[in-house]
Subunit: 160 residues, 4 copies
């Protein structure tokens, strides 16, 4: 986990955003980006991992899988779980990102008998088919109910 460097990044981002904020802005804080943390998914279990080819055939459905806890399993209990994974795509040479999909994970073991009694759990991993005719970068975000917001990114290119 990159807590140390993430914290320094956040501080620098705060400074930069403050510097470019409009006069009269009521924004009292760094942007929402400072809320997200990342790191090496092999050691930090919260980081979403994007698995897909690095080359997409233009316009062809291609499976994209996003997993939280791919190497080190994330807990999935009534008290500690991944609430959602959201996937974005920023086309190259564009500043306008698109939301691809948003996935809520709702079953985490609770029932009227108490926490972790239902036996029902949905794991924080999803697969969808995505089509694109342009290269760009996927951004995966994830939310842990007690450890906040996490992110990762993966660039892809297009082959005709």
């Amino acid at each position: 986990m990159l807590r140390g460097s993430g914290y320094i990044t956040a501080l620098i981002v705060v400074a930069i955003v403050a510097a470019v904020a409009p006069i009269g802005s009521s924004v009292a804080a760094a942007g929402v980006g400072a809320l997200y943390r990342t790191g090496d998914w092999r050691s930090e279990k919260h980081v979403p991992v994007i698995d897909c080819p690095v080359e997409f055939k233009a316009g062809e459905p291609t499976t994209v899988t996003v997993t939280v806890g791919k190497e080190r399993e994330h807990p999935n209990t009534a008290h500690h779980y991944i609430s959602w994974i959201r996937l974005y795509f920023l086309p190259a040479e564009s500043t306008l990102p698109y939301e691809v999909a948003s996935f809520e994970f709702s079953a985490h073991g609770e029932s009227i008998l108490g926490p972790d009694t239902s036996t029902l759990y949905v794991d924080p991993k999803i697969s969808v088919d995505f089509r694109t005719g342009v290269p760009g970068v996927f951004y995966a975000t994830a939310y842990c109910n007690i450890h906040g917001l996490w992110e990762s990114a993966k660039a892809i290119t297009i082959i005709e």
Copy 2:
């Protein structure tokens, strides 16, 4: 598609619900169930198809795939698309269903240049891993932005 019989079902449900509605109720209609339609997914492209084993090993992650348009492809354009798929599970011998997961599909080709110009599309098919220690019934629901609510169900059993 079961438009005919679905409509008759809806009418009958309206009559039954009206008959059992509480005195003073302001409910002027059948329950939300009457909003959902179903049919044979091989001929009706809106019906979500649940693919998974019919036997789950107790507590083992098992992949469940839900597809809209499995046999007859559903359109995926800026004007006509599947907005979401939501998956529920009702344990046998229970009247309390659980939401398993909710999946929003957000990219349907629109951009600042107009409908169907971005080249980006996410298809209405998802896969998740689910664990259960009890048998029950999956319910998949889907929403088409212009053709409303659709549903299907699939029962599973447990092997130890």
Copy 3:
């Protein structure tokens, strides 16, 4: 609460749906509507209450409020809470319902220190502005993390 009559309704619906199900259908259960319960919101704390005028001015933004626990407060703790409220609208003389909005309530007191330690809670009540040129029926649905799916409905008319 209408547990008794609701149960009878469910049984009858099962019979009807079975009767109209397509040959070869793998659907092993009544439709998703049988998963929803309703009742008198003054005594049953789970029933969503739709508050809005019964007459909408055609095309004018009109506030619709949906509340779970309006008379008898629903618990809002890390172990027992309302996860979401979803609002639909069925135009009169149509069989195609529309989703109006979907509201997820995410903060229920949990933190890294354990359940009910964060002091942060969002209550199960929302307000949105809706415009329509046609009469119809609102359907509100809500999900309790341990008591399942609930519904209510409210008809509106249009004044020019």
Copy 4:
């Protein structure tokens, strides 16, 4: 709108994130924060505006309203609309943000007759009741189906 300075900020953030990225990282881009834009809501119609008291009574339900297009109305048509508003809260002296709520706006005029034929629209404005015992910062985010991700923030304090 801060397109110019936003772009420069993004470039600097890219450089910083690259500098602190772990060895072997596959992250090919700046963090997700660089995808969000902000500005003065009085001139930029996409910026979400958070309206609530700046002082919350500890533990008391307090209404928070988030509006996109508060001063300059944002379009709400089948081709151009606000898809969602999401609200976060970062407690002071914490690095772990919480999602408060997520609001999807689903009705934007489309029907089987084509774009902008249903007469049904939900506007990009929501109100919820939130309780907190600690001061912190709200972050509101919003997504326009063709103009991407937007954000704003508002700090609050606590009075006992």
